[in-house]
C-alpha cells in the first residue's frame, strides 16, 4: 500500500480544500470498507485520505416531514436499526442490511456505497426507486444530482476530484406507498448480487390501482439502472398479474448485463424479470400495510 497521510477535518470546506489540493491522489474516507481494500490492492495510489466522520453534517441522520436525510458518512447499521426508517423506508432497510456482514455494516454506509459506484451496489437501487437525490459540495459550490445519474460507470461517478458527497436526501413517501429490494445470490449471506431489483409503488386510496412506480436494477449493467419505462407502465393500471408481469418484462428489456463468473446474460435478464415481479408484489403488500 502506498503510504498516505490521514486528515480528519471538522468542516466540509476544509475537507474540500484537501481534496482539491491533491486531485485524484486523495479520497474521502467514510467506512473505509472499499477505500482501504482498493488502496491496499493499489487500485488507487493515494497521498491522503480525508476522514469525514468528524464533520457533524456528514454524520447526521434525520427523518422529518420533508423526508429522510442520510449524512454521507452514516454507517448502514444506524440506518437499518432506526425504527422510523424501518417503518417509512423499508426498501432502504432491505438494501442496507445485506451489505457485507455485521462487521462491515458497522462502518460501511449508503454514502460510500453510492460513491464506490459498484454496478452491484445493494444500497443504490432503493435510493433510485424512492427518487432520492445526492447533495454534493465542492470548490465551486454545492449541487444536487439524482441518484440514478450519480454513477457513470463501474467505480466512476459524477464527482469531480474536489467534490464531496455530503448527504442523500430521500423524499417522504406518499400515502399508500411501499417499496422493497432483493438480490439473487447463490449463498445465504455475504455475496455480490448476480442480479438485483428495487421497486417503489404508490397506490390509490383503494389500494387496488397503481398511481406510479419506480423500478431500479443492479448488477445488470455498468451502473445501477432506473428502468423508467417499466415503472411508468404501471401508472393508472390495476394491481394484478397482467400489469405486474408487463412491467417485469419491460424491466427485463432495460437490463444490459454481461456474462461473467457470477452469471450469464440470459440468467441475469431472466432474474430481473422474476425479481421485478416479486418486488412489485412485496411493495404492494407493504403499501397496503
Amino acid at each position: 500500500m502506498h503510504p498516505f497521510a490521514y486528515v480528519a477535518p471538522n468542516t466540509v470546506a476544509e475537507a474540500v480544500a484537501v481534496l482539491a489540493e491533491h486531485g485524484d491522489r486523495a479520497r474521502p474516507l467514510a467506512g473505509g470498507t472499499d477505500l482501504l481494500v482498493k488502496a491496499r490492492a493499489n487500485v488507487w495510489e493515494l497521498d491522503a485520505v480525508v476522514d469525514v466522520k468528524n464533520i457533524p453534517e456528514l454524520m447526521s441522520l434525520s427523518v422529518n416531514g420533508d423526508g429522510l436525510s442520510i449524512g454521507a458518512g452514516v454507517p448502514c447499521y444506524q440506518v437499518y436499526e432506526n425504527e422510523e426508517i424501518q417503518a417509512q423506508y423499508p426498501g432502504i432497510v432491505d438494501g442496507a442490511s445485506i451489505i457485507g456482514g455485521i462487521q462491515v455494516q458497522s462502518r460501511a454506509g449508503l454514502g460510500g456505497n453510492l460513491c464506490n459506484a459498484a454496478p452491484s451496489a445493494d444500497g443504490i437501487p432503493s435510493l433510485i426507486a424512492y427518487g432520492a437525490v445526492a447533495k454534493i459540495s465542492g470548490s465551486n459550490g454545492n449541487r444536487e444530482v439524482a441518484i440514478e445519474d450519480f454513477a457513470t460507470g463501474p467505480s466512476r461517478t459524477v464527482l469531480d476530484n474536489d467534490e464531496l458527497l455530503t448527504s442523500i436526501e430521500v423524499p417522504k413517501p406518499a400515502a399508500n406507498s411501499g417499496a422493497a429490494y432483493t438480490r439473487f445470490i447463490p449463498r445465504n449471506e455475504m455475496d455480490i448480487a448476480v442480479a438485483a431489483v428495487g421497486a417503489f409503488v404508490q397506490l390509490d386510496s383503494s389500494g387496488q390501482n397503481f398511481e406510479s412506480a419506480r423500478i431500479a436494477l443492479a448488477s445488470v449493467g455498468p451502473t445501477p439502472i432506473l428502468a423508467k419505462a417499466a415503472g411508468d407502465s404501471l401508472a393508472g393500471k390495476p394491481v394484478n398479474d397482467e400489469s405486474i408481469d408487463a412491467a417485469a418484462a419491460l424491466a427485463k428489456d432495460a437490463a444490459t448485463p454481461i456474462t461473467d463468473m457470477r452469471g450469464t446474460v440470459d440468467q441475469r435478464k431472466h432474474l430481473v424479470e422474476v425479481l421485478t415481479g416479486r418486488m412489485l408484489r412485496q411493495a404492494v403488500e407493504r403499501a397496503r400495510g
Binding site: 473505509g32 456482514g101 458497522s106 455475504m190
Partner: protein
Amino acid sequence: MTTNFPSKVHITTTINGQQHELLVPGYMSLLDTLRELIGLTGTKEGCLDGNCGACTVNVDGRIVDSCLVLGAEVDGKEVKTVEGMATPEGLHPLQQAFLEEAALQCGICTPGFLVAAKGLLDNEPSPSEGRIRHWLAGNLCRCTGYDKIVRAVQKASS
C-alpha cells in the same frame, strides 16, 4: 490543514481498558497498530479485505474488521480485543464454551469468532440459532465448520 501533513498521527485510545498514547502512520491499519505497535497479536490477519472476520475487534460497542479501520481512526475510542475477554479469575464463558464444544481446530479464526460472538451476546443474551448464524456470517472458518461454533455460542447464551 492543507499543508504539512504529519507523517504520523498522535492518538489516545483505550485498549482493553488500558489507555495508550501512540504515534501511528496515517496508513497503518488498526490491525497492524494492535499487533505491531501494542504487541497484541491475538487479533489475526486473514483476508485483509473484509470477508473473513479473523481480525474482528470491538470499537465503541460495535464489531469491526480491524484490517479495514485505520489506527488513526480510533483516537478517543474504546477498543476491545480477544485479550480483553478472560480475567484473572478465568476464561470468558464464550471461551470456555468453545473449549467444551471443541469449536476450533487450527484456531486462526477463533479470536474473531469470540469477539464477534461477544458483540452479539453483550446486547442479545439469548439469540436464536438463526440470529447467531446471521451475526457470524462475516466470520469464516475453514476447518472446524460452523455447527460446533454455533453450538458453543448457544451454550454461552443465557
